[in-house]
């Protein structure tokens, strides 16, 4: 029983972690837990949990059909486990879906708001109905031992309704297994042509039957191994035989469809999709069919287990491919599921598996009856008369260990959670780092490769620290008010001197310091004949400066506001006006912007406020 104990502990570990993730998912939203984007709105949860999950649960209708339609009685022994797996599988699908839906509390809307054009509507209804059918199909197993007369009556009634229920179950399964394929018919733009075909619904249905057979085999063999009982090898061999035919049919259908549509060369194109297809196709069809044809494999439980696992992986991979991986290349997205998505999906599977064990250990699931108490070799239920200590009940024997495993899983997930899971997705509090190359920066406002030195640090200090960046570094987006230079440099038409002569004179010493800048005594004392700033302030031009001036910048007067703005706007306007397709010569004319409201400049009143 060691393997069972270890398996259950592992499942509890995963489930414990998933519980934490479930809380994070609903407390913080999908943005904080998934890697989904506007371009990839469906990801791992849809591909694996829903598309894969429904296919994995196909064993229920396949086995029920084998026994009640084709009347192959020797498969009766596996009907119960198969139906239970299907029931738990569908519960897991719905459980997984509740995490994936943005508004899961509205899931019942499908009952009252109808859109029969939508394959998803049909899938939703079928899954709802089939879940009910499965519950009714399985209920007798639970009521079997019940003593209450009402339950006994229900048991009797449900047993008599088995055949109609099985029929209904198969009819519903046929519809929604194929409709999960139809779901993708509306996505020809997203799905790669190796997967997109008008017969996707048929493809999904056939592969679901193959997967159902292989999944039931898998489950039978694995549960036998876990509970250390004899596997129903004969039954599994029969399933394998059927699977061989179904999977061969699927392979032929798949390849035939690809070649008929003329997509054959895409298989060997060597692209991402071609390798994805080859891997999937080998796993889902070719290798299992070959293995199942080998008598040595068919005879051994190990060989059958490996084969069945391979086919299950392959066909689930097909669902994940259709649901996402085969759309990555065509849409150019970079979606890789987050670890939280994967863990959560595994958590749903773990919960379903634990529920399976729960039922297996209490009810007549297997041919041999419930897993017997004697089979729990650890902690047999005994009572020690000497010490009056009762050993625990076998069903709860591992409880302490399982709890520990669950708590451990939760702790691991808590440790791995990203910051956003606790703090939420706040985008406003991100700090902006100040420029790293000095207090002064060269700015090339006119885009003329002539730069001016800008006292960055002083501006930051004057404007009120880091929070003030936006006052100049505004984004020129529609709803935002821009802060023009004019807010500081008030005069429209007059140049503004950035160079503070009196400050320099005072610092260098009036009367004595002139020669330190006006070096040539014979020349005029103007900007053109004076040292440049960089001659003294050597650190003003940082090595990392993006703008390299053609000559050391001389501090002359800064252009007026009008000149600066004209320099920036007019160039572009003129280019646009010349474009024949724009065909708007007026674009570069003053009146295009100056709509008659601009007053003429009066030199007598240079300080007058001017408006455009």
């Amino acid at each position: 029983m060691r393997r069972l104990l270890a398996t259950k502990a592992l499942l509890w570990f995963i489930a414990g972690g998933a519980l934490i993730l479930a809380i994070v998912r609903f407390a913080r939203g999908m943005g904080a837990t998934t890697a989904l984007t506007d371009l990839t709105p469906w990801g791992f949860w849809i591909g694996f949990d829903v598309m894969g999950g429904v296919a994995l649960a196909a064993g229920g209708f396949v086995v029920a059909g084998t026994v009640y339609v084709f009347r192959l009685e020797r498969y009766h022994a596996i009907v119960r486990p198969a139906v239970l797996t299907a029931f738990l599988g569908y519960l897991a699908v719905v459980g997984g879906l509740l995490f994936d839906l943005g508004l899961p509390w509205n899931i019942w809307h499908m009952v009252i708001y109808w859109n029969p054009h939508s394959p998803l509507f049909e899938v939703g209804w079928c899954v709802m109905l089939y879940l009910t059918v499965l519950a009714l199909e399985f209920a007798p197993v639970l009521f079997e031992a019940a003593r209450h007369p009402l339950l006994a009556k229900a048991y009797k009634f449900l047993k008599s309704a088995t055949v109609p229920l099985v029929f209904l179950g198969i009819m519903l399964s046929t519809l929604h297994q194929s409709s999960l394929g139809s779901l993708n018919l509306i996505l020809p733009h997203r799905l790669h042509p190796l997967w997109y075909t008008p017969i996707l619904p048929i493809m999904f249905f056939v592969s679901a039957i193959g997967l159902g057979l292989m999944m039931v085999s898998c489950e039978s063999l694995v549960s036998a191994w876990l509970y250390e009982r004899e596997p129903e090898l004969e039954v599994v061999q029969g399933l394998g035989k059927a699977a061989r035919w179904v999977l061969s049919g699927y392979a032929v259908l798949r390849l035939g469809d690809i070649f008929v549509r003329g997509q054959g060369p895409a298989i060997f194109a060597g692209t991402y999709e071609s390798w994805l297809f080859i891997t999937e196709f080998l796993l889902s069809a070719i290798v299992p069919v070959v293995l199942l044809s080998l008598p040595a494999i068919r005879r051994s439980a190990g060989g059958l287990t490996v084969t069945a696992l391979m086919a299950v992986t392959g066909i689930v991979m097909n669902r994940i491919d259709v649901g996402g991986l085969a759309q990555v290349g065509t849409t150019g997205t970079h979606y890789v599921p987050s670890w939280m998505e994967v863990w959560m999906s595994l958590g749903v599977v773990a919960a379903a598996a634990l529920a399976y064990f729960f039922v297996a250990e209490r009810f007549n699931l297997f041919h041999a009856g419930p897993v017997k108490r004697e089979q729990f070799r650890y902690n047999l239920p005994t009572f020690d008369p000497g010490t009056l200590v009762a050993h625990p009940d076998p069903y709860t024997a591992g409880l302490g260990r399982y709890t520990l495993a669950g708590v451990f899983g939760a702790a691991v997930v808590l440790g791995l959670l990203p910051h956003s899971a606790f703090a939420g997705l706040s985008l406003k509090s991100q700090r902006v780092t100040p420029p790293g190359f000095g207090d002064r920066v060269l700015i090339d406002g006119n885009r003329t490769r002539e730069a001016v030195l800008f006292e960055h640090k002083k501006h930051v200090e004057r404007e009120g620290g880091e929070a003030s960046c936006v006052r100049c570094h505004h984004l020129n987006n529609p709803a935002e008010r821009t802060t023009g230079c004019a807010r500081c440099h008030r005069d429209m038409y007059q140049t503004t001197s950035i160079f503070d002569h009196s400050l320099h004179a005072a610092r260098l010493g009036t009367g004595k310091g002139c020669a330190s800048c006006h070096v040539d005594n014979a020349a005029l004392k103007d900007v053109a004949h004076t040292k440049a700033c960089l001659d003294c302030h050597t650190r003003m031009l940082p090595a990392t400066a993006a703008v390299k001036p053609r000559q050391p910048p001389r501090l002359g007067p800064a252009p007026s506001y009008v000149d600066a703005l004209h320099g920036m706007c007019i160039q572009c306007h003129e280019e646009r006006a010349k474009d024949p397709r724009v065909n708007k010569p007026a674009l570069a004319q003053c009146a295009t912007c100056h709509t008659g409201k601009v007053p003429s400049f009066d030199p007598a009143k240079p300080d007058a406020r001017q408006t455009l």
Binding site: G29, D38, V69, H76, A77, K159, T162, H189
Partner: protein, 273 residues
């Protein structure tokens, strides 16, 4: 049916339409996020200017005549109004995002950052303007008449008139006239607009047509499968009965019971004592 015609050659990229859209729909600031595409559209921006060389292309919902999003939605939260706009009813939505998958132009966006997320997209100002006979905020704001609003047939005629007058100026097509079954947002453009689509360009016909065959097959398949199952069970049962003349037990035992339940244990138990 009302429509919008956007002439890419006339757009100067001033984004006044974007500003008008933000004001009209009271949209919050568009903060950059992991899940947004870098095409300007997001759950907070229903229209945006995409700059391609010297052309400015205004992106928005195309308001298809046969919208894939509306066809895909399992609860009918999206529908095409008689006036033209395709609108969204958030009270029905369950958040499956099938509409986002189905849209060939990748228009619907999701509020991924919210714990109560909705799908967001351009509604052509249906509720507050188009339904009342007014034009959408974006076309009203356009200073160059690059994007105009009107009756779809009239706008199509105008588009073809422009193509006829100055064919060198445009690509020889009106985008939205027939692609994906026709859209209510039409484009005249000097450059091909295939980049507006998501994935492989599949614009020859309306996408909802692709699922129609499969969905129409649902009722007959349902009934057909039931009939085939009953038939097969009956035939096999009868064969077993005929072959059973010599053997005392077998499938007929099960059949006469009307099914022995999900488990064989009932049957085998009975035999044991």
């Amino acid at each position: 049916m009302r429509a919008i015609l956007t002439d890419v050659t006339k757009c100067i990229g001033c984004e006044k339409c974007v500003a008008a859209c933000v004001t009209e729909n009271k949209l919050p600031p568009a903060l950059p996020a992991r899940w947004t595409r870098d095409d300007g559209l997001s759950a907070e921006r229903f229209t945006a200017i995409e700059r391609k060389g010297t052309s400015n292309v205004r992106k928005q919902c195309r308001h298809c005549l046969e919208p894939a999003c509306a066809s895909a939605c399992p609860v009918g939260a999206l529908h095409k109004t008689p006036e033209g706009p395709v609108v969204y009813d958030s009270s029905k939505c369950l958040g499956c995002r099938y509409c986002m998958m189905a849209c060939p132009f990748g228009i619907p966006r999701y509020q991924w950052g919210s714990t109560v997320p909705y799908v967001r997209k351009c509604t052509m100002c249906h509720e507050n303007r188009v339904k009342l006979g007014r034009q959408p905020a974006c076309t009203e704001a356009c200073p160059t008449q690059a994007t105009i609003f009107g009756e779809r047939t009239e706008l199509l005629a105008e588009a073809h008139r422009r193509l006829g007058v100055d064919p060198a100026r445009y690509q020889p097509a009106v985008w939205g006239e027939t692609d994906v079954g026709g859209t209510s947002v039409l484009y005249l453009s000097p450059i091909p607009l295939d980049f507006l689509g998501v994935g492989r360009v599949q614009h020859e016909r309306a996408l909802p047509e692709l699922t129609v065959t499969a969905m129409e097959a649902v009722p007959p398949v349902f009934v057909g499968v039931g009939a085939v199952l009953a038939g097969v069970r009956w035939i096999i049962g009868r064969r077993m009965k005929l072959a059973d003349g010599s053997s005392p037990h077998g499938g007929s035992h099960d059949g006469s019971h009307g099914g022995s339940g999900t488990g064989s244990r009932g049957g085998s138990k009975e035999k044991k004592p």
